[in-house]
């Protein structure tokens, strides 16, 4: 039922160097629909500091082909768990500077709880399942960003939530 409902909407994933238009992407999630009660979005930005060092720029590497597939799988999982009416994921690659947008996740749903949950779920899984890697430029030289344990914890809580609600 939920997957079917989800299939009716637009589930669109892009990996691109270009920036995106937050207003246009958000509007598109509700365009031509009158059954959308809420749209939750998340925009990730490059910060000018990380782990105690200044960051002057960042380069995002990815695994072309697998990236799109991994993002598509994550969106599909969100559609099975909730019933989003439309979903949009955009992830940029290449060289970015502090203040630049990295990622956009937008979810339109009938009710706000579903929109928030699906949006945060997609971000948490994206952080641990999608093949992107960040290389930061700092005054001490370039360095690859280490994965955070807190991201694994954030992703794992959705499995715990699933077990809890099933059990």
């Amino acid at each position: 039922m939920s997957a079917q409902q989800a299939a009716a909407g637009e589930m669109l994933v892009s990996v691109q160097e270009a920036d995106f238009d937050v207003g246009a992407e958000t509007a598109r999630l509700g365009d031509g629909r009158r059954d959308v009660g809420g749209i939750a979005t998340f925009i990730g930005l490059v910060r000018d500091a990380n782990d105690g060092s200044g960051v002057s720029a960042m380069t995002l590497e990815h695994y072309p082909g697998m990236t799109e597939r991994a993002l598509g799988d994550i969106v599909e999982q969100a559609c099975v768990r909730w019933s989003p009416l439309s979903v949009r994921v955009i992830h940029r690659v290449g060289r970015l500077q502090p203040g630049d947008r990295i990622v956009f996740v937008g979810v339109a749903a009938a009710h706000r709880g579903e929109a928030f949950a699906a949006c945060e779920f997609i971000m948490d899984y994206l952080k641990t399942q999608a093949p992107f890697w960040k290389r930061e430029e700092t005054p001490e030289g370039a360095r690859w960003v280490d994965a955070r344990e807190s991201d694994d914890t954030a992703a794992a809580r959705w499995s715990a939530a699933a077990s809890a609600s099933k059990g």
Partner: protein, 83 residues
Amino acid sequence: MALRILYFAALREALGVSAEDFDPPAGVASVSALRACLVARGGVWEKLAAANVKAAVNQRMVGGDASVGPGDEVAFFPPVTGG
């Protein structure tokens, strides 16, 4: 027919290789067996033995038990850090 192997990010940089076609010895049929083969090259290749190195077969993340065979695309990479 050989396997296509890809390396990404810090691992690609450490190995100095982004992709190779590799014909594994007979009997190498799993990700972990393939990985052991590559580690056996010694030197920088021992970095592939690190516990946090992830693997994908045909663009899906897999565990060491996953099978690999001729024509597969296998990738090794550090933990992902997007978003």
